[in-house]
């Protein structure tokens, strides 16, 4: 008989003295636990969730503050154990279709020794989950597996469970073993108690103990395996609840009416223009924010199209054709990332020097869904008003705090509940549309669902990825070894992720009257700490900050890296691998140029300048898996007059300077008569510490490579400076990789490094495609193209220029 059952079956008078002692100890151990019905409440909600995920319409009536303040330093904010032994874990890192929710469930099962089926996950709901900022930047593994994250909370919980059981069995924790959520005495398997019996639904009342022993990744049995993603079945069946599918009683449908020109202001709104339309149309105007609300989506769409708004003229935009020159002429905020102070002198003594300029356009997230949110604001504005927002935001807490400012109600009265949208890839329209829904719901006093049209999303809602201009100089010695590397860049920003003090950081906040913090020009300061977060430092320099050991991945000692940021005419924000992709495109193509110019094999030349064994390992792994044959570039084996030429290119990076190693070999064919580039194969090697889910990691790596292929071959935001109109406003004007085009062969090599900490893998491969493809194009055609996108027109013009036509 399990000892735990004694408690229920026997009266105290019938217990043996030993059982009395054990029971007293258990009661004492539990006495610190407040029995408030946290678990009961949470359990009630969890039933409303599917296997995992965020809330849905099921809890439309649930309170704003479910548990009170969620204190991320406390174990109870991360994990609860029900009386049935089921484990519920709470996390501030959400699912974007990248499989991380499944990894979190794996982590719960692993650290607590319970079956996967016994773990439920609740993520990103300010009513329940700890504040972990935003889910972004390939930081989820670092956050959850690092100190004070989910793994530490689970380890603390396991330690407490073992201590509790040790008291129960009158032994020590090291004499116990856990299997499937049941703790047993090693020497006597008949003595066992389940988590449910042990905890009885009580709280832990413990702070996270970062010294609690963690399971060694080498002993993992659940992590490290390809557990199928738990969100996929419902998605394949069509039953998954995306934010677009949140349906509240009495919910109305809103659409925004955006300025036709960048920066235009509302002069007047003729509400009568939609008065006769069906659908009980209401018009909402808040400064320059204009929206319509109606009973159905179609009525709202029609009203948005017919509402007569008079707009002012827009802002002055730079001419697109001269954007990159314009960027280098603007006042800028400068950062010296690294500077050994000797680059000019070393350059002067170099045997050979190189210089080039690389440029990268604005690109958009182009999420496939129109961004969508549902808001239920009650009581208007002020201290007693409340708001509940179902949002696909990357940061429920930052959104709670900034929506509160936008609505003029206390943050404590706002609850933001994450519900998955379509793949977002960064700061798309998800935060803006949440403001829109909140503003419209506040105005009409009913729940409102807002979804963006294609134009709302692409030309007036999202925050674009930044453009870049990068100028390089480098020098080599007589032996062809790089001795000096100099990088100068210009990029443009406007806004960023919004928080409590910056609702004007995104389009809707700015339209509603909140200031977008202006760029403040500033001179560069001498760098005092090493950071390669933006990957402006190439992989081949030492990363030398005065007074500190080198922290880069390369061997080139003389280095200067200076970045400049100017004010962008368009809103910008993180777009998958922000800055890192643009910088790596430039760095890795320039490195290739140097190797080519010296007649060196691009892989071997890279290896000559790398010092970090983990980066060297992925370069070797990718080259090996691609059966890379050492030879100079371009590919001289191609027939000179062939219509189609083929090439291969390599690229590598340590993402963010500390967050995942990867290398990519791209193989392309180029049609010499049309300039069309077709990618035929990608071979990626990736190492980001212990692997949590191999299949999920491969899925991420494949998607990253392919999405970046689309970006570098096709994508560019376009505008007309005269009219002030952004002209890329649908999938025809902003073409991307489409079904029907050749699907490249994808090969991914995972390096499982159990000796280091878990780091991110989400943005490794996407950082590499533009450079690997660019280098492959050069290998095929013998012409270097230094601008993205590699459109047929650009490639053909380069071919013709090189051949003198």
């Amino acid at each position: 008989m399990k000892l735990g059952n004694l408690f229920d079956t026997f009266k105290r008078s019938q217990m043996t003295p030993d059982a009395h002692v054990a029971l007293k100890k258990l009661e004492k151990a539990r006495s610190g636990a407040s029995r408030r019905d946290f678990v009961k409440t949470a359990g009630g909600l969890v039933i409303g969730f599917s296997a995992l995920g965020a809330a849905s319409q099921a809890d439309a009536q649930s309170p704003i503050n479910v548990t009170g303040l969620v204190d991320a330093s406390k174990v109870d904010s991360w994990v609860s154990i029900g009386s049935d032994g089921d484990v519920t874990i709470y996390s501030g890192k959400c699912e974007f279709g990248q499989g991380f929710s499944t990894v979190q469930v794996q982590l719960g099962a692993e650290e607590l020794y319970v079956p996967l089926s016994q773990v439920k996950l609740v993520y990103c709901d300010t009513g329940y989950t700890p504040d972990q900022g935003t889910t972004s930047g390939s930081q989820s593994h670092i956050a959850e597996f690092g100190p004070s994250g989910l793994r530490s909370a689970l380890a603390t919980a396991r330690q407490a469970l073992l201590q509790l059981a040790a008291q129960w069995f009158d032994t020590t924790p090291d004499q116990l073993v856990i299997k499937d959520g049941v703790i047993s005495v090693k020497s006597d398997a008949t003595q066992s108690i389940s988590y449910g019996e042990l905890v009885k639904g009580a709280r832990f009342n413990l702070a996270i103990d970062n010294n609690a022993p963690l399971k060694d990744p080498a002993t993992y049995t659940v992590l490290g395996t390809s557990v199928p993603r738990m969100d996929i079945p419902a998605k394949a069946l069509g039953t998954h609840t995306y934010v677009h599918n949140v349906r509240l009683p009495g919910m109305l449908h809103g659409r925004v009416v955006r300025p036709p020109f960048v920066g235009a202001k509302v002069m007047s709104v003729n509400q009568g223009s939609v008065a006769s339309l069906p659908g009980k149309v209401q018009v909402v105007v808040v400064k320059d924010f204009v929206g319509v609300v109606a009973d159905t989506q179609w009525h709202a769409i029609q009203a948005a199209g017919l509402l007569d708004v008079t707009w002012s003229s827009g802002a002055t935009l730079p001419d697109q054709a001269s954007l990159y020159t314009w960027m280098t002429q603007q006042p800028s905020a400068d950062t010296m990332v690294v500077d050994t102070g000797d680059t000019e002198a070393v350059m002067a003594s170099a045997a050979k020097t190189f210089s080039a300029q690389y440029v990268h356009p604005y690109q958009m997230h182009g999420s496939i869904a129109g961004s969508c949110a549902v808001a239920d604001v009650r009581g208007g504005t002020g201290k007693t008003a409340t708001a509940k927002i179902w949002s696909p935001t990357q940061g429920v807490y930052p959104q709670r705090d900034s929506v509160a400012v936008v609505l003029g109600i206390p943050p404590a009265n706002v609850r933001v509940i994450y519900v998955e949208g379509s793949g977002c890839y960064g700061l798309n329209g998800n935060d803006s549309v949440s403001y829109d829904a909140a503003l419209m719901s506040q105005a009409v006093g009913k729940p409102v669902r807002v979804v963006y049209s294609r134009r709302d999303e692409m030309a007036a809602g999202e925050s674009y990825g930044q453009p870049y201009v990068v100028n390089f100089k480098a020098g080599v010695d007589k032996g062809g070894q790089l001795t000096v590397w100099q990088y100068d860049s210009w990029t443009a920003t406007k806004g960023n992720r919004p928080n409590a003090t910056t609702p004007g950081n995104i389009v809707s906040g700015a339209l509603a009257g909140f200031v977008t913090p202006p760029l403040v020009p500033a001179a560069a300061k001498v760098p005092t700490t090493f950071s390669n977060n933006g990957n402006s430092q190439c992989s081949y320099i030492t990363g030398q900050i005065a007074g500190a050991p080198p922290q880069g991945t390369g061997t080139v000692a003389s280095q200067r890296v200076l970045t400049r940021t100017i004010a962008s005419p368009f809103f910008t924000g993180p777009l998958r691998s922000p800055s890192r992709l643009q910088n790596t495109f430039a760095n890795e193509c320039f490195m290739d140029e140097i190797a080519v110019s010296l007649g060196q094999d691009p892989v071997q030349y890279r290896l000559r300048h790398l010092s970090d064994p983990r980066l060297i390992a992925v370069v070797n792994a990718a080259a090996s898996a691609a059966a890379w044959v050492s030879r100079p570039s371009p590919n001289v084996s191609i027939i000179p007059n062939a219509k189609v030429r083929t090439g291969r290119g390599i690229s590598c990076v340590l993402y963010e300077g500390n967050n995942g190693y990867s290398a990519l070999v791209a193989e392309v064919s180029v049609d010499m008569t049309t300039g069309v580039v077709t990618c035929t194969r990608f071979v990626t090697a990736i190492e980001s510490g212990p692997i949590s889910n191999p299949n999920g990691m491969i899925n991420q790596t494949e998607g990253g490579v392919m999405q970046a292929m689309s970006r570098c071959l096709k994508e560019q935001v376009k505008w007309n400076a005269k009219s002030g109109i952004i002209t890329t406003s649908d999938w025809n004007s902003y073409p991307v990789y489409n079904w029907g085009e050749r699907v490249p062969v994808l090969k991914t090599v995972l390096l499982n490094n159990l000796k280091v900490s878990q780091t991110g893998a989400g943005e490794c491969s996407i950082t590499l495609s533009a450079s690997a493809i660019g280098n492959a194009i050069f290998d095929a055609i013998g012409v270097r193209i230094r601008q993205i996108p590699y459109t047929p027109a650009t490639v053909l013009a380069a071919i013709q220029a090189a051949s003198g036509k």
């Binding site: 394949a236 995306y242 677009h244 179609w298 998607g703 392919m706 649908d730 025809n732 489409n738 079904w739």
Partner: protein
């Protein structure tokens, strides 16, 4: 107001709308409360809204309710159930053939229509068939979807 009757995943549905041009997609989302057909662009450029109309894959965001009346609509919810998923759905699950999954109606239903008429279709034929209309996957999970569709073409699920 006019009443339109149609069949949605085997069940009759009658709706009253004031505009015969109301796109079918919004009727399926609001009246039939379906989650499968999704709004992506409203322009017929991405395929997230794809349903079968009498067995023919169709973009419901640019199909009027008046043209849908009297017809039989099948969304991906109508293919199979959690207890008994359609072989194509099983193939997508076994291949983990998606990231966000928002686009899935397009490749699944255009793929099914083509493969059902062309059993044993090769991966290249399937990709080419999907290219006959505008279909997008912005997460770029194409390779895995081709694997899933190819399995289905071979009568397999994994």
């Amino acid at each position: 107001m006019a009443a339109y009757s149609l069949t949605v995943n085997g069940k009759p549905l009658t709706v009253n709308v004031d505009d015969p041009n109301t796109p079918l997609l919004y009727i399926l989302q609001e009246n039939a409360q379906l989650n499968g057909p999704k709004f992506g662009c409203g322009l017929g450029q991405c395929g997230c809204c794809t349903v079968m109309i009498d067995g023919v894959p169709t973009k419901s965001c640019i199909t009027a309710i008046s043209d849908s009346a009297g017809h039989s609509i099948l969304s991906i919810e109508g293919l199979g159930t959690a207890a008994n998923p359609h072989p194509l759905q099983q193939a997508f699950i076994s291949q983990q053939a998606m990231q966000c999954g928002y686009c899935i109606s397009g490749p699944m239903l255009y793929g099914k229509a083509f493969i059902d008429k062309n059993p044993g279709a090769t991966p290249d034929q399937i990709v080419n068939a999907l290219g006959q209309t505008q279909l997008l996957c912005r997460c770029h999970a194409h390779s895995r979807m081709v694997n899933a569709l190819s399995l289905y073409a071979q009568g397999k699920t994994q």
